[in-house]
């Protein structure tokens, strides 16, 4: 029996009440605010309209049989890629559109801070047709080694490869290249996996290849699990034969994942000199395919299989200045319903073969997060992280989350059939979310400074790319929003922090040096970056690598790991300039 006295009751009851009060308080945030919270050291001003970047994405419309879930299925396709298609030294921007008849846009950088739209003139506008499907994104790279960047457009439909003829016109060479394949793809990357100097192509797939979303023969097209789905389309690896043709080597190389891959990125994670592939899969765990000397890939058990989430994007960056590429994968978080949490995976693969997820606090929860990129926006030598988010913004007063919670708990047989899903109507689903701009505070974690630096839009962000658009030594931010206008955030750093950039020129076919990694050392400062052939979600960054240096006025050493396997060391490099480095010839 209880021996209760008023004192005992008080001893038991008071902490109970205090604990309940504490729960309410903790909902507001940490008990202690971080010290010095408001010194991002840069500001971002949205200038798209002002500089002639007028582009509004239009989403696709599919077979009426899945009208009930169309807002969900059609919630992708806004993409942005940075390229210098005309070779004038000024980065240009290519945006995809996703409705029949809606043109893609190629904005040529005039070099005076403004852009002109040239897609139709160069032959890259009208790619969204009932015959071929609609664009989901693009990746640029010099696959034929002629010094000009060509482009692969991936679609919910046929792949499309365009050869850059002279910097002013593009030729559709898909058929001749052997790439006319129907792939319901949300991503692709260029990489030279076999170190033969030629860019190969890895294309990710979402819906199965046999699914034509405009002419459905069955509505059983959805994933068969919210956590471990493997009924997506197979990803495909195409080897560049060097004569303008590509050969599919997916099965031979062992990289045909049928998870619902939304994004891929390539880098040499285990530092063995061969480029590996990292996948972010929707409805499943991430995957790391380690390259075994270009002969095949091995699906690694790097600790990724233990967390199954909804991977949306893969971003590579040196998060803690260790001279290694870490991985940031976005996921879904929704107040009260679901906290999948983003993953910030510290790369320890060269040490023990594993990644360690250290995402915590603010950086773990960016809402329904999509594309993300690492970049040193304030040039202090430490990476910031820009994350886009928001899934479907429709009626503000109506949320689909309640309906989603019913479906998510159901048996696979039910939700695999799109017709079984409750109708979306005009509901929002994690809509009207504000992009995050995370500032690294070292051991204190990451702080969201988006509103402080001027990022306040609530668009449904999908792709984000970083580029030094005005050749100022400053990274600007370009965002493609789903069914909404694209944004250009011009970056204005507060201080005169120093910087250094590298333009790498390959000499073995892959002239844009995709896959090359650079490690700089300046005093005790280290930083690694990779020239990406597609990274984030449906995006590709500036091929030139930008490093912030803080108050350091030179770089002691820069080590370049060329995709060919060549290693080049440069010493005593001057800050505040772009260094053009040509790959040593054998």
């Amino acid at each position: 029996m209880s021996r209760r006295t008023p004192l005992r009751r008080a001893v038991i009851a008071l902490p109970f009440v205090a604990a309940i009060t504490l729960a309410f308080r903790l909902d507001q945030g940490p008990l202690r605010a971080p010290a010095d919270p408001a010194r991002p050291g840069f500001s971002l001003r949205e200038e798209a309209e002002a500089v002639g970047l007028r582009f509004r994405h239009r989403r696709p419309h599919f077979d009426a049989a899945i009208a009930n879930v169309e807002p969900h299925v059609a919630a992708v396709g806004a993409s942005v890629a940075v390229t210098d298609f005309d070779g004038d030294g000024w980065p240009d921007l290519y945006f995809t559109n996703s409705d029949f008849g809606a043109p893609n846009a190629l904005f040529r950088n005039r070099g005076d801070g403004t852009f002109e739209e040239t897609a139709a003139a160069v032959g890259l506008a009208d790619l969204n047709t009932p015959t071929d499907g609609v664009s989901m994104g693009s990746v640029w790279g010099d696959y034929d080694g002629d010094g000009r960047e060509d482009v692969l457009v991936y679609r919910y439909g046929y792949l499309a490869l365009f050869r850059n003829l002279d910097g002013r016109r593009f030729e559709d060479v898909t058929e001749a290249a052997g790439l006319r394949r129907w792939v319901n793809s949300n991503g692709a990357i260029w990489l030279d996996y076999d170190r033969d100097g030629r860019l190969d192509l890895y294309v990710t797939a979402y819906f199965r290849d046999g699914v034509n979303l405009w002419k459905l023969t069955s509505t059983r097209i959805m994933h068969d699990s919210f956590e471990f789905a493997k009924n997506g389309g197979p990803n495909r690896l195409f080897r560049n034969l060097g004569d303008g043709r590509f050969e599919e080597v997916t099965d031979r190389l062992g990289v045909g994942s049928t998870r619902w891959t939304l994004a891929a990125a390539a880098a040499d994670f285990n530092e063995d000199g061969w480029i590996d592939i990292y996948l972010a899969n929707d409805y499943g765990p991430e995957e790391l395919y380690l390259n075994e000397r270009g002969e095949r890939f091995r699906l690694s058990t790097a600790g990724l299989e233990s967390e199954s989430k909804s991977g949306m994007s893969v971003s590579l960056g040196d998060a803690f200045n260790r001279g290694r590429l870490d991985v940031f994968v976005t996921n879904i978080s929704a107040r009260g319903y679901l906290f999948q949490n983003n993953n910030l995976r510290v790369n320890r693969v060269p040490d023990d073969g594993r990644f360690r997820n250290v995402a915590d606090g603010a950086v773990a929860d960016a809402g329904w997060a999509w594309g993300a990129q690492f970049g040193d926006l304030n040039r202090d030598g430490v990476n910031e992280l820009f994350v886009t988010n928001g899934f479907i913004s429709a009626d503000r007063s109506e949320s689909y989350w309640y309906a989603m919670s019913k479906v998510a708990g159901a048996n696979a047989r039910l939700f695999e059939d799109a017709r079984s899903w409750p109708a979306f109507g005009n509901a929002s689903l994690s809509g009207f979310e504000r992009s995050r701009v995370y500032l690294s505070r070292g051991v204190a974690g990451w702080t969201d400074v988006a509103s402080q630096v001027g990022v306040t839009d609530e668009y449904d962000g999908r792709a984000v790319a970083l580029a030094d658009l005005s050749n100022r030594g400053v990274l600007d931010v370009i965002v493609a929003n789903q069914n909404q206008p694209a944004l250009l955030y011009r970056n204005h750093p507060d201080s005169a922090n120093h910087w250094i950039s590298f333009k790498l020129v390959g000499t073995r076919g892959n002239t844009s040096a995709i896959g090359a990694e650079v490690v700089i050392e300046a005093g005790d400062h280290r930083q690694r970056r990779v020239v990406d052939g597609g990274m984030g979600f449906a995006s590709q960054n500036d091929r030139r690598l930008h490093f912030g240096l803080g108050d350091r006025e030179w770089v002691d050493r820069a080590v370049i790991h060329w995709p060919s396997g060549e290693r080049q060391v440069l010493s005593h490099l001057t800050a505040d300039r772009l260094h053009t480095i040509t790959e040593p010839r054998r």
Binding site: M1, S2, R3, R4, R8, V11, I12, P15, F16, A19, I20, L22, A23, F24, L26, D27, Q28, S225, F226, E227, F228, S306, E307, S308, S333, A334, R335, G336, Y337, L338, F339, N341, A359, D360, G361, A362, V363, A364, D365, S397, S399, W401, Y402, A403, S405, K406, V407, A408, G409, A410, N411, A412, R413, L414, F415, R419, S420, W421, P422, A423
Partner: protein
């Protein structure tokens, strides 16, 4: 979940003969083993825990709270098995923002402490795990969510859980509660879907999710917090199903409810109805004595079947 197990824990130790010896099998250990098995299988097959630190923290919070409060309240530390089960339940059901561990500390403490604080006639009113989870969902929805996904969304896992659940419910003599709830859920939600002109299947789908399975087999059948008598038990169960359906109807209509009401209507319905029903039940008279000599009573599953050992203070306090 833990509470049904405490009910099972109060069932009479079963004996088994083997080699001429009769060995007493304490159902508490069987049930604790089952919940551990569910955790282990869910973790190794579906990685459901999300970090062993969560498990350690939840277990520590529950067991330390139970030890401390029972010592303060009764002058001795009670059996910690039910706290262990609560810890596992919270680990399975709570999903925090980021890598936060404080929700497990708070939930563990609140779950166990609720048994000592919110009482009437020496009985606690709320199912402890239910109390803590719903309270956190209401107080800190920005930081906490509840298990919403399937464990793989596959039929095999569903069948395993249903089989385990049915065996446990039958053994603890609460199968009628489980079946009543399931029937009520199916009927009321089919009716709601029909009234709203929506497809019926998605409305019935949640019942196949792991959260509901844990709820229907264990939480709603908690012998320490259910009312006495088979008839009242059925009536209260139907009332819970009705309230849940009304909450869902309100969500269908887009009423501005707290997120917890949309995300976990079953848990909220039990949270609202359960303690009121228990309070009324207790007002009807003093609970039946729980003595080892008492014959089994179908209306009070678990309690009359207590062994001498199970009638220790821990059993009276409830789990």
């Amino acid at each position: 979940m833990s509470e049904s197990i405490s009910g099972a824990a109060t069932a009479a130790p079963r004996t088994a003969s083997g080699g001429g010896q009769r060995v007493a099998l304490d159902p508490r250990y069987l049930i604790a083993g089952l919940i551990t098995l569910v955790l282990v299988v869910a973790q190794f097959r579906y990685h459901v825990v999300g970090g062993y630190d969560r498990l350690a923290v939840a277990l520590a919070a529950c067991m330390l709270t139970e030890a401390a409060l029972s010592w303060i309240d009764r002058g001795r530390v009670v059996n910690l098995q039910s706290a262990y089960i609560s810890g596992i339940s919270l680990t399975l059901l709570l999903k925090p923002q980021g890598g936060a561990l404080w929700p497990f500390v708070l939930a563990g403490y609140l779950a166990i402490a609720s048994k000592y604080v919110v009482r009437h006639r020496d009985n606690h009113l709320w199912n402890p795990t239910n109390f803590a989870i719903v309270l956190l969902l209401l107080a800190a929805p920005t930081r906490v969510s509840v298990l919403s996904h399937q464990w793989g969304n596959d039929l095999a896992t569903n069948l395993v859980i249903w089989c385990f659940g049915l065996v446990i419910a039958a053994r603890v003599r609460v199968l009628h509660i489980t079946l009543t709830y399931v029937a009520g859920f199916l009927a009321l939600n089919a009716l709601r879907a029909t009234l709203l002109g929506q497809p019926i299947a998605p409305e019935l789908a949640p019942l196949t999710g792991p959260m509901y399975q844990l709820f229907v087999f264990f939480m709603i059948t908690d012998p320490r917090t259910i009312v006495r008598g088979r008839g009242p038990q059925v009536a209260v169960t139907i009332l819970i199903a009705v309230v849940e359906s009304l909450l869902r109807l309100a969500s269908d209509r887009g009423w501005p409810l707290p997120t917890a009401f949309n995300a976990a209507p079953a848990l909220v319905a039990l949270w609202l109805v359960g303690p009121v029903a228990k309070f009324v039940d207790l007002r009807r008279g003093v609970s039946a004595p729980r003595t080892p000599a008492a014959p089994p009573s179908p209306g009070v599953p678990g309690a009359p079947l207590s062994s001498a050992r199970d009638s220790a203070p821990a059993a009276r306090v409830g789990r």
